[in-house]
Amino acid sequence: MKRIAFLIVILSAFGISSAVAQELSPERKQAIDSLALEKIRDLSKYISIIGSKETPWSEANRVIDRADELFMQGSEIGVSSLVRPEISYYTVRKYFERLMRLNYNKVEISWYNIEYVSDLQRQPDGTYVGVITIFQKFKGYDAEGRLVYQDTTKKDITVYVKRKETQIGGRLIGFWDVLLGDIRVKETSK
């Protein structure tokens, strides 16, 4: 019993010291803040490429794979509409596949005002978690080029940033893995 208690004390002390050792300098924190924002901008770009009717099918599928890699497994994306009160949630891949097949002749999707609503905060397991809000402007056109639907949606995206290591060319590389969680619809307006 004493041995177990001793082991727990040692492990706790190690945990505390490693947590202290991992406290980030403001410069490094700023770098991972920017990295997470950049991943959101990447997603924004991917969504506009996947949604565009001008994107060839093979390209759209390649981009779906890249966009999918941005998310944690099991994440969901909310979809709202001005003509439906409820918000539907889809798995990431399902969302992109639906986006690719939207029933418009031309689709324009743009994201703007991308910013943190909740700064990245370090969790006990070392993961940094934050929430980034974005505004999405959606425009759908018919075959005659008429704008038939448009809305603006405010969405919250949970961001997880975790320090990981990998071996590359015999070197141990420490990197920051940014993964996006659920995308929740907060407001939808015309």
């Binding site: 300098s25 410069e27 490094r28 700023q30 770098a31 991972i32 920017s34 990295l35 990447d42 770009k45 991917y46 490429i49 060839p56 390209e59 390649r62 981009v63 890249r66 990981k164 990998t166 590359i168 060319g169 590389i173 420490g174 990197f175 920051w176 893995d177 940014v178």
Partner: protein, 208 residues
Amino acid sequence: MVLLVATILIGGATSCKSKKKLAKEKAAAEYALKVDQAKKDLTAIIDGSTSWTSAQMEERLAKIKSFNIDDEDVKSLIEQAEAKIEDVKAAEIRKAEEERLSREEEARRRAQQSEFAVVDNQFMAVASANGIDDANNKIRMALKYFETPDIPVLIIISQSGGFNDYDRPTTISKFLNYLKDKKDYKYRVVSAKRNSMDKITELELIVK
């Protein structure tokens, strides 16, 4: 007649005596001036209020020492000035070494920049391609510089405390497609490993 001769002789002697006195006074005044100037120069060396180099300081100190000024203040100032000159010389050597290292680093950086300019230009060409087909052609051209489309690409997001923070590692193929999608190249190649065929086997970039 006798009186005249005596007057001339006495007058001449008096004049000679006064000339000697004047010369002595002049010498004393010059010496005082020299001592005063020596003190001023030594003080300037000690408190660093002069823009002289260490060589100029040594030259001035040698000159002052050659005067053999018998003054306790001057002697003390000479000792302090000698110590100060040693400090200045050490600082000059340090500065020269820092400048040499800085020049070497700059030369190395420029050499690397020109070494990687070809790769950076390929990446910029993909990012600024005119449509998907053009971008794909440029990706095919860029891939010729790499051993395989799967060679690792490491992206440094910050350099702090002597080590690098990286983004999730990717492959050159995915990175080139990323540039095609983003239409923006905001990185700089900082290192590349090559095989015996001069093809790149590992690439390291930094966010600009």
